[in-house]
Symmetry: C2
Subunit: 193 residues, 2 copies
Amino acid sequence: MNFLEERIVKDGIVKEGNVLKVDSFLNHQMDIALFEQMGEEFKKRFEGCNINKILTIEASGIGIACIVAKYFNAPVVFAKKSKSINIEGEMYCADVESFTHKNVNQVIVSKKFLGPEDHVLIIDDFLANGCALQGLISIVNQAGGTVEGIGIAIEKGFQVGGRIIRNLGIKLESLAIVDGMDAATGTITFREQ
Amino acid sequence: MNFLEERIVKDGIVKEGNVLKVDSFLNHQMDIALFEQMGEEFKKRFEGCNINKILTIEASGIGIACIVAKYFNAPVVFAKKSKSINIEGEMYCADVESFTHKNVNQVIVSKKFLGPEDHVLIIDDFLANGCALQGLISIVNQAGGTVEGIGIAIEKGFQVGGRIIRNLGIKLESLAIVDGMDAATGTITFREQ
């Protein structure tokens, strides 16, 4: 097990319905030293990639993205969730279905901060059905930029998102891939990487 | 002028209605090297304070809080904006009026992550009327914790928030205090500190 898998086993809580709670260190309380280990690991995994911008989505991706960004000397842009319809042509936008909240959000990024010159590493905390990532990929494509890769903390390997993204030919690196969980015993099965 | 005031003059945009846009470096695209300078400066200004936790509010406070947290070796907790009414006693909550969006959000923090043992530095990007900060202070008080101080990137000195917070006897440090703006000329007047 790597450092993140060990931490998930130690502090993650498995709940009914394939819910994995990691809010004590990842997405409500945030362990910055852990995020720095994640930054080092992503730097290794995306060695040689020409990355000049980090893209994430509010809210829980922002903390990880900011710490990871230090390892790439790149600024972070975060996509905002918006219900507003009046976008005025100043924004890239994409529809994103939320697995957690069971609704559709419009996700927006100002056209000022993404363009054809950008080589983008997308960072997020969770990958499940992949809808958020597909929205971010769409936004980079609208900007004429290049998705150099995607770095995820925890992928739910038993959901379709990872397969869809990898089938697109995009370099996707998940630090922990959960292939199964058992709420009764609290057991978590990780994919060998 | 300090480093942040210089950056605001260089890249901030003054709009009608006392709006200061700093989305190219602070709250949409985020300059991580600038955030590190902010972390160093807050570390100096809160020297000697016994801080073991950073508290912020989603979304634009999170990036600054995570970088600042490195300088205090403390975890970050971010308060979530929620419309849900059913809180089940697991959460501290406070009502927060939004100056930008002209509505009221409930702001929540899990009781697991704040308690009487916590000495909290509250971090946010903007201080205007102070409603968000009052909500965060209320949450720390509900937890029985101690607000050691508040660190803000940009305070709008011509609005009431800063005066209210300082009148509460809380140590409030704003890296830039804007006392006036002129949209016609783009001029920004900073308070001498």
